[in-house]
């Protein structure tokens, strides 16, 4: 059983996104896909902020669109606290906004939409209590260990209400459908970086090469060009920090040298099985350490303690 409490909130957020994406793709593999069956397709996910009818910013995690029904569902995944200001901004999203965002529809004039908040089983109760105090009627759904249920309020589209509760096995959430997010923690970022460096080495067919951090990021996020500037900066800073940590750790010095946002990556005799195994085992060791440190850091934080009790 994957334990949320071992994960940092940022990773929890990505897994909630994967839980919803899984419901919306063809063949998630031993995981239901009622949104896909009902004709919904993924239109947007973890998009950069867009404007609502009042000119305020909202940043939906996922938007599903059903062209035939002219219906869209906007999901915001909550891994931490709820924010009334954010809810109010979502309340001001109108169909014209969705049309401006380019959401698929056959008839923009008839486009309807729902806004739904997604919680994990650890914070669902807290989110429900919070939303009960607010004047919004957003459907709130909870991703649990054995089902995804609607905690409160209905979707405007009746056909959607009928699909809940959705039986799932939490461990079967397709977690690599979205393998790394903009808020992913260090051990996930490092895992992607190491894999990408080896991937590039095989493509370049060189046992040593230089690569800018931005090139690595572009490979990790194939939709880099679509990400807004402010998010790009945050991701760049995060990757830069993670690479500096790796270079300073002393555990990967035979493979990585990092300075001024440029990595020198080398694996002597890179097609040799033993060289690869050695690189693999040292990478694993370092990533395990990152994971352990991060979880410990979170467990030490007061905020984590309060989340864990829900």
């Amino acid at each position: 059983m994957v334990n949320y409490s071992e994960k940092v909130p940022e990773e929890k957020h990505r897994i909630l996104i994967c839980a919803i994406l899984g419901l919306s793709i063809k063949n998630p593999g031993r995981y239901p896909n009622p949104f896909f069956d009902k004709g919904y397709r993924i239109n947007v996910f973890e998009w950069d902020a867009v404007t609502n009818s009042k000119g305020e910013m909202v940043a939906p995690d996922i938007i599903l669109a059903n062209e035939d029904r002219n219906n869209s569902i906007i999901f915001d995944c909550k891994s931490g606290k709820s924010d009334k200001d954010q809810a109010e901004r979502y309340d001001s999203v109108e169909k014209e906004d969705l049309v401006d965002w380019g959401i698929s529809t056959k008839n923009p004039r008839e486009l309807t939409h729902d806004i739904s908040f997604v919680s994990s089983f650890e914070n669902g109760g807290k989110i429900r209590n919070t939303f009960n105090q607010w004047p919004y009627d957003f459907p709130v759904i909870q991703v649990g260990r054995s089902n995804i249920e609607k905690l409160m309020n209905d979707f405007k589209n009746e056909g959607i209400n009928d699909i809940f509760p959705i039986d799932i096995d939490f461990k079967n959430i397709p977690k690599y459908i979205y393998p790394v997010g903009k808020k992913s923690p260090e051990h996930i970022i490092m895992d992607e970086i190491m894999r990408t460096l080896l991937h590039k080495m095989y493509k370049n067919e060189k046992s040593i090469f230089k690569i800018k951090i931005e090139e690595i990021i572009k490979d990790v996020f194939p939709y880099w060009d679509k990400i807004g500037l402010s998010t790009k900066e945050k991701i760049l800073d995060n990757f830069d920090r993670v690479m500096n940590m790796a270079a300073d750790s002393g555990l990967l010095e035979e493979y990585i040298d990092y300075e001024d946002k440029v990595t020198v990556f080398k694996i002597p005799n890179y097609q040799n099985t033993r060289s690869l195994q050695s690189f693999q085992s040292k990478s694993m060791k370092y990533i395990r350490k990152l994971r352990k440190d991060y979880v410990q850091k979170r467990l030490d934080a007061d905020e984590w303690g309060s989340v864990e009790h829900h």
Binding site: W101, P174, K175, Y176, I188, E192, T196, H199, K226, L276
Partner: protein, 399 residues
């Protein structure tokens, strides 16, 4: 015609090559008719389908001297190779009309060519065999009269304590060979029926039977294919073809080289279409146009033999070694789940795996090679569970 005679022949284009193969196969046919058995010294026509993401002009195989010669046809090459320390030069005729899936023909002995092709496909970057999973290989049965089947299995992923059959190699000749294979496949069903009788004396035998069923992947198939529909069956041209799961086609007899070449071409086209479909429709892609969306989906391998020790199983898969040759990092691990961020060492492409007790989820990111899926699936069948089934396509089967 001996190998030395063939080597003396100048081949400058496909027409001359076709004549060479035709003469070779007719020699074999006539002598076989005359002596009623295959003569060992005769060199059968063998063809290999090989995937390449690189130019043939860069062909370089460790442990061999390799010389690539051009012909008058810009897509047709003659490759001469010699194992280091040996004198004999062997000759291959390489058709690169399809730049990605080459057809390599030879009349040289398998003992020399098979190791070279294996090294080319398994150890050389950006090269690979084609991989016909069991279900795909079974299609060849329908093309003519079934003559033989080959079963080949090597256990590398199972737990030692539960391992009952570690290696299996079996070849069955004759019209009933397919029936025997079907019987082996039905052994688990037989076991479950007999178990209901509560007769304990059968248990040990049935366990072995079940193990045999998991360990008997169809690895080769022999079939007699007729080239025409002449009323008198004796008058029909035909080819006795043996196809193995790594894309080796051996013309073991017959008198129609055209049929051999046609079979190769059709197989290559169909296989190429499947691989292209995986890359275009199944690989996980992010739409370049606005707004940003995802297309594609994972594929699922359903196992009929549960994995006892996930850590050991995945450790072998990502050991960087043959046969999987996958480098990977264990991102997430629990008793009943392992998530792997991986790289396929055949070509450097990314692949992600989620391994559960009785199924595996495969994600091929955009730009990944569809042949990686075919290889992984085939290797699971040949090294862990020959009854494994790939799922994830809405209509019909991928393989």
């Amino acid at each position: 015609m001996s190998e030395k005679d063939i080597d003396k022949k100048e081949i400058n284009n496909r027409r001359e090559f076709f004549k060479l193969l035709e003469q070779n196969i007719m020699d074999t046919y006539e002598r076989e008719k005359e002596y009623q058995y295959l003569i060992k010294d005769l060199n059968m026509v063998k063809s290999y389908l090989v995937e390449s993401h690189d130019s043939i002009k860069r062909l370089d195989i460790e442990g061999y001297d390799v010389n690539v010669e051009e012909t008058n046809d810009s897509t047709f090459f003659i490759v001469k190779f010699r194992k280091n320390g040996f004198e004999n030069i062997k000759r291959l005729y390489v058709d690169t009309m399809d730049e990605r899936f080459w057809t390599i023909h030879t009349v040289a002995k398998s003992g020399s060519v098979d190791p070279f092709i294996n090294k080319l496909a398994k150890k050389t970057l950006k090269k690979d065999h084609v991989w016909f999973p069991v279900q795909y290989l079974e299609r060849f049965k329908k093309m003519g009269e079934s003559r033989s089947i080959t079963l080949k299995y090597s256990e590398i992923l199972g737990d030692e304590e539960e391992e009952l059959i570690s290696d299996l190699s079996m070849k069955l000749w004759g019209g009933a060979s397919s029936d025997v294979y079907s019987l082996i496949n039905q052994l688990p069903e037989l076991k479950s029926l007999l178990e209901k009788t509560d007769d304990t004396k059968w248990i040990d035998i049935l366990n072995v039977c079940e193990s045999l069923s998991h360990s008997s992947p169809l690895s080769g198939i022999g079939v007699k294919i007729f080239a025409d529909e002449h009323e008198n069956i004796e008058e029909r041209n035909f080819i006795l073809e043996e196809v193995n799961y790594n894309g080796k086609f051996t013309a073991r007899g017959g008198n129609s080289i055209s049929e051999h070449l046609y079979l190769l071409r059709k197989t290559k086209e169909q296989y190429s279409d499947v691989i292209q479909f995986i890359e275009d429709e199944i690989s996980i892609q992010f739409k370049k146009s606005s707004p940003l969306g995802i297309t594609g989906h994972p594929l699922t391998i359903i196992l009929t033999r549960p994995i006892q020790d996930l850590g050991k199983f995945t450790g072998e898969v990502i050991s960087c070694k043959e046969p999987f040759r996958i480098w990977g990092l264990t991102r997430d691990r629990s008793e009943d789940y392992v998530g792997i961020t991986g790289v396929d060492l055949h070509n450097g492409d990314k692949i992600n795996l989620e391994v559960y007790e009785d199924w595996i989820r495969l994600y091929l990111p955009k730009g990944g090679c569809g042949n990686t899926i075919a290889r992984f699936y085939s290797l699971i069948q040949h090294n862990y569970d020959s009854n494994a089934v790939l799922e994830g396509v809405e209509h019909g089967q991928l393989f």
